[in-house]
Every structure is written in structure tokens, then in C-alpha cells.
Amino acid sequence: MSSRVAVIGIGITEFGELWDESYRALITKAGTEAINDAGIEGNEIDGLYIGSMSPGLFSGQEHVSSLVADYSGLAGIPATRVEAACASGGLAFREAYISLKSGLMDIVVAGGVEKMTDSPTSSVMITLMGAGDQEWEAFKGATFPALYALMARRHMFEYGTTLEQISEVAVKSHHNATLNPNAQFKFNVTLKQVMNSPPVAEPLRLLHCSPITDGAAAVVLATEKKAKKLCENPIWVEASAISTDTIALHDRRSLSRMDASIRAAKYAYEQANLKPSDIDFAEVHDCFSIAEIMAIESLGFCKPGEGGKLTEDGETKLDGSIPINPSGGLKGKGHPVGATGIAQIVEVVEQLRGDAGKRQIDGAEIGLTHNIGGSGGTCVIHIFSNR
């Protein structure tokens, strides 16, 4: 077995409607912060991996691997764009991890970025639907709120999950976001506000849906040898797993669970030689509140169908038995699609370093990230530890 891989530097921009920030400005800002945090020089970097879902449709810019290398002052180094819809960030990290595990590189940067507010909302909806099946879903009029609404309905039907339980996810996410200086929505919402917000796709309402966001995040990865030399508190990658599933929702065996999540979780736990009960906290993909309930079930933090109850009982809060989305999640922190997977990792590293400020989870040693593409066509899971 080759040597371990660690995260030795992190950087993240503010998330939100950043009218004055361009695509290239966002990613270079996050990247520079990560490099400075790692205390390395540009010429020590062997490669770049950039997760970005659709800069071509959002801003007309493709070929972002070269763009990012260029504007980082690193033109010349190998740079690769990775795309797996909303899981682009998580997958970019995995590709960076593989490049180190292969022995080809020693230090690489994995970034994620999306600039979504350059387009009107109607175009953003169409662009995001590119993550679904064009022929069988998009052309028939489906949008992601609609697909997740179908999953919510089925989950409610099969397990008796209530709208109150789904709404509690958003209440908790917003609360955690108030403690995160980079979050898009730094305000609390009440259960009543969530339940009475305008319907988007019944039963999902506005406050069950993650927003349109601009933002970027970046991390520096290093081999064990380099990490030990360069970094006092490396955060170790204990597992990197991915699974895919049918791209269209209607082809799944079940609407109330995501098999890609279940499989990726199984691989990750096997790799890390850990059980769900060993995980101290997790950043999961709550693009819609129902998705968090399904995620915590897939990750084995409770039995299938009990995610709603676990949430309602407060176990996923910061002081609960398994804190979920201490960053505020996609709902509270914001969801710049390509950046999300890396932003989750930034949060886990901050927590494991003990640098998460007011949202710090006491004694956190093992954290997990769960990043979904589309309606579950891709799931990327990473497990990290500070030991």
C-alpha cells in the first residue's frame, strides 16, 4: 500500500450573491488562501484539479483548467477540470488524491468554483437540469426541485416521514450558518417560517431548497512524506470512495434511498476500517432538505426511514450525537455547485484542526463528506481524521 495522503492547506471565499467577483477572481482567491495556509510556494505545486459544473453555460467560459492555472500564475503545470454535476468538487478532490496515491505527484491543489449569478434564474434552472437525464427528464419538464419532491413524497409514504421533520433540517442548517462567517444566509428561520414559505414543488417549499450561489474553495493535498515535513497538523484522508447510479430517477430501484450513497459509504467504511458509529460528524449534500434525511440513512447513522426522527430529536444538531452540516450545509452556507464538494472538505478540516470557532464540535477526530451529483447519479464520499 502506498503512503497516506493529507490535506495541508485550505481556502474558501465568502458564499453568496457576489456581484463584484468573477469566476477567475473567486477561484484564485480561494486557491491563494489555501497555498498560503499550507505555507508552500507556487513552484512546489505539481498539479491542479478544478471541480466546476457548468462555467460554459453560467458564464460562457470553458477551458477553465488552463484559465485557473493562468490566473493563479501557474501556467505550465498540469491542470484538469473535473465535472460530475454538483459532485464536481468532491470528484476533483478524489482525482487529486489518486494523483498522489499513484506516485506521479507530491503536492496538488484541488479547487471547486461556480459563478452562478451571471445568469437569470430561468437559465440557471435549465443549466442545473443538465445534471439530469436530458432526454427522459429535462425534455419532459422535470427540474431538480420536482425530482427531489418525488423522493420526499415517497419517503413520506413509505416511512411516515413528516413535513415537520423535513423542515427541521432547514431550521438547523440556518442556525449553523449563523455561526459561519462565510455563509450566504446568516439568519435563523423558525419551523413555522419553513413550513409556510412559498411552495416550489410540493411538498418542498422555498426554505427546503438550497440557493443559487457564487463561491469557491480550494485545498492543498500532499503525500505523507511531504505533509509531515511541511505541516504541523495535517488532516489525513482515511477513505476516498465514489459510486454511480442511473442518471434518471425513474430507473432506480427505489425513490426513497440513493444506492450510489449506500455503495460509496460501504466502500469508504471498508477502506478506512471504520463503522458509522466511529464518525464524529459529517458534511452531507442537503441540496433539498429531504436529501439530508436520505443521506444520514445511507451513511448508516440511523436505520432507513429513521432520518426524520433522528433530525426531529435534535441528534444532528451541533451538540447532538452525530452533528450534520456544522457549516450550515448547502441550505444555509450556499451551494455554488462545483465548489460545494471542496467546501465540505474545508469545513471538515477546520473542525478537525479545532479551528471552527463558534460552531466547533468538541473533540472531533473523524469527519465525513458526502457529495451528490444530480438526483443521485454520482456520490463521492471522503473520510478524514486528525490522527
Binding site: 463584484d20 449569478t117 437569470p120 412559498p198
Partner: protein, 349 residues
């Protein structure tokens, strides 16, 4: 000192309720009313346009000012719905009020702030004694794509202001502008309806310019919000001016008198000027008014106006309130006919 010598307003008689527009598009009218703070809007009749609205307002202004129209040396009409792309609205107004022939005239366009830009031009010509009186008009029959969010607010109306040095009812103490190149709202040549940047029209556009212009003029004159009796802002909906006023440190009471949009809609180039007219309808000698317009693209013109005793002596009888009270409600189909939204219409007998 240069100031307002007289003013006149005009609003079409027809109204459509937000509820009625929402009924057609299957949206929630009461929720839209609450979130945009708008209940109904004016609709121009089939034979009304920016020219007819400008002429009505100009006639009222001449009547109120008691000036001889032959002494008006400049007419500028600000609008984004001039009936002709090439051929001025201003010359039609000049002929209608008998201000021809010894005058200069032109049409202005700066989205919703062309009317206040017209006032600034008149101020310069009057101040430098090139002309005795100038007539500045802001009027629109604004457009909103059927089903677009704009359709709930885009309305029609206008106001005309005569600028001069004699018989001033409101002295213009200072004017200050804040302009950037910000593409928040636009309509290209040959297009029937405007496009907009949705949420981009808020913080980086309306709020940035209104607040910068208001703060700039207050700072230059060493004045604070409490020094003003009234605040008049451009009103694309009811919520934006309320939020801007609060951010600037003004009270609801200072703004409230000029906030017409909940019942007449967004009259675009007429919006700020109608708000100022409604304020002058009430204001007494010594009252101070801060006026800030906003035009997409984008810019804001701010004015500090001090009302004189002359305003009380010569109250405008054709008040904004009178035009607001005269109203006939129509349904969406009549609205669609009036606004020319129906395709392939046969010639009427």
C-alpha cells in the same frame, strides 16, 4: 435662485389589480402584493401614450405656473417609451402648449431617471440666463412582458416641472448625481419588452446608486436625514424605497407621502417626479425635501429642495390625489387590448 415655478401631473383613469394579473398567470396575488408592496397599477387607454401623458402634464404645469408658454425656452421629455424612435415627443408637446417656435427641445432616455436629468439640464440653462423657463417632463407607458414579474408593476403616468428663477415654489438648493455602467435593465432596438437581471436589479443597482447619491448630496450640504421633512425616491415597487429609506436613516413618515407605487404602479420616468409632485401638493414654506431618482444602466440624480411660501399661495389644484381617486378597474383582457398585447387584431369599425 433657480427652482420649480410650477408643476403638473397626469395619470390614466384605468387600473388593474395585482390579483387580476395573478389570476391569469396562476400565481399568488396576495403574496406578490405583500412581497412587492403593490396592490394595483394604472393602465393607459388604447389612445394614450407618452405624448398624450406628457401633453396633459405639461398643460397642467403651465396652468399652475401661470407662465406664458412663449417664455418657455427649452422642453425636454424623459421617457423610455417615446412613441417614435426617430422624431421627438418634445416638439409635439411644444406645439400642444403653444411654446413654439423660439425654443430648444429634445427627448431624453436614461431608463427611469430621464425626467430628473431633464430638470438638471433646464437648471443649467436657466441659471446661465440662456432661457427664462425650461420645461422638464418624465412620462412613460412602461412595458412588461406578459407573465414577467415586471407586469405586476409596469404602469403609466407622468409629471411636468417648469424650472425658472421667478415665482419659485421650491428652490433647488443643490443637485448631485451618481452614475456607473451597470447593466441591470435594458431594452434593445426593435424589442417590444425590456430584459432585466432579476435580483441583480436590487443591491448592486437600485440600492447602490440611490444610497450613494443620497449620502453624497447630504454630505456635500452637511445635512442629515432629520434635517428633511420629506424624502422622495424612485419607486419600482413599494419595498425597495422603504428598504432604502431605512438604510439611509429616514423614517417611514418622511417617505410615506410620496410613496404612490402601491396604488399606481411603477410609472418609470414619471415615478420620482410624481412622488415629488405629491409632496409639493402638501408641503409648506420652509419644508425641505430630498429627492433621489434612479435610472437603470445606471444612475441616480439627487436634489435638495426648499419649499417657499409661494407654494402655499399658489396651491396646485390638479393634485396627484385627485388623479389617483379617479379610477376605473379593468380586467386582464381589456388590459391586454389597451396595451396592444393581442396579436392579429382586425381593424375596428
Amino acid at each position: 435662485m433657480v427652482g420649480i415655478v410650477g408643476y403638473g401631473v397626469y395619470l390614466p383613469i384605468y387600473r388593474i389589480k395585482v390579483e387580476e394579473i395573478a389570476r391569469v398567470w396562476g400565481t399568488n396575488g396576495s403574496r406578490i402584493s405583500k412581497s412587492l408592496f403593490i396592490y394595483e397599477k394604472t393602465v393607459p387607454s388604447i389612445d394614450e401614450d407618452t405624448v398624450t401623458i406628457s401633453v396633459e402634464a405639461a398643460r397642467n404645469a403651465v396652468e399652475h405656473s401661470e407662465v406664458n408658454p412663449k417664455e418657455i425656452g427649452a422642453i425636454y421629455v424623459g421617457s423610455e417609451s417615446h412613441p417614435y424612435v426617430v422624431k421627438p415627443t418634445a416638439t409635439i408637446v411644444a406645439a400642444a402648449i403653444d411654446a413654439i417656435e423660439n425654443l430648444t427641445a429634445a427627448d431624453y432616455e436614461f431608463a427611469c431617471k430621464a425626467g430628473t436629468a431633464a430638470i438638471q439640464t433646464c437648471m443649467g440653462l436657466v441659471e446661465s440666463d440662456i432661457i427664462k423657463y425650461g420645461l422638464a417632463i418624465g412620462a412613460d407607458t412602461s412595458q412588461g412582458k406578459p407573465g414577467d414579474a415586471l407586469e405586476y408593476t409596469a404602469s403609466a403616468g407622468g409629471a411636468a416641472f417648469i424650472i425658472g428663477k421667478e415665482g419659485v415654489i421650491g428652490e433647488i438648493k443643490d443637485t448631485y448625481s451618481y452614475t456607473t455602467d451597470t447593466p441591470d435593465f435594458w431594452r434593445r432596438e426593435g424589442r417590444d419588452f425590456p430584459s432585466h437581471g432579476a435580483r441583480f436589479t436590487g443591491k448592486p443597482a437600485y440600492f447602490k446608486h440611490i444610497i450613494s447619491a443620497a449620502r453624497g448630496i447630504m454630505e456635500r450640504n452637511d445635512m442629515k436625514p432629520k434635517d428633511f421633512d420629506y424624502l422622495v425616491l424612485h419607486q419600482p415597487n413599494g419595498k425597495f424605497p422603504e428598504t432604502a429609506a431605512k438604510t439611509l436613516g429616514f423614517t417611514r413618515e418622511q417617505l410615506h407621502n410620496s410613496l404612490l407605487v402601491p396604488y399606481i404602479g411603477n410609472t418609470y420616468s414619471g415615478s420620482t417626479l410624481l412622488g415629488l409632485a405629491a409632496t409639493l401638493d402638501k408641503a409648506n414654506g420652509g419644508d425641505k425635501i430630498l429627492v433621489v431618482s434612479y435610472g437603470s444602466g445606471a444612475g441616480s440624480d439627487a436634489f435638495i429642495i426648499e419649499v417657499t411660501k409661494e407654494n402655499e399661495k399658489r396651491r396646485n389644484k390638479k393634485t396627484v390625489k385627485k388623479y389617483m381617486e379617479k379610477r376605473i378597474y379593468i380586467d386582464y383582457s381589456t388590459y391586454a387590448k389597451f396595451k396592444g398585447k393581442l396579436k392579429g387584431v382586425a381593424l375596428q369599425k
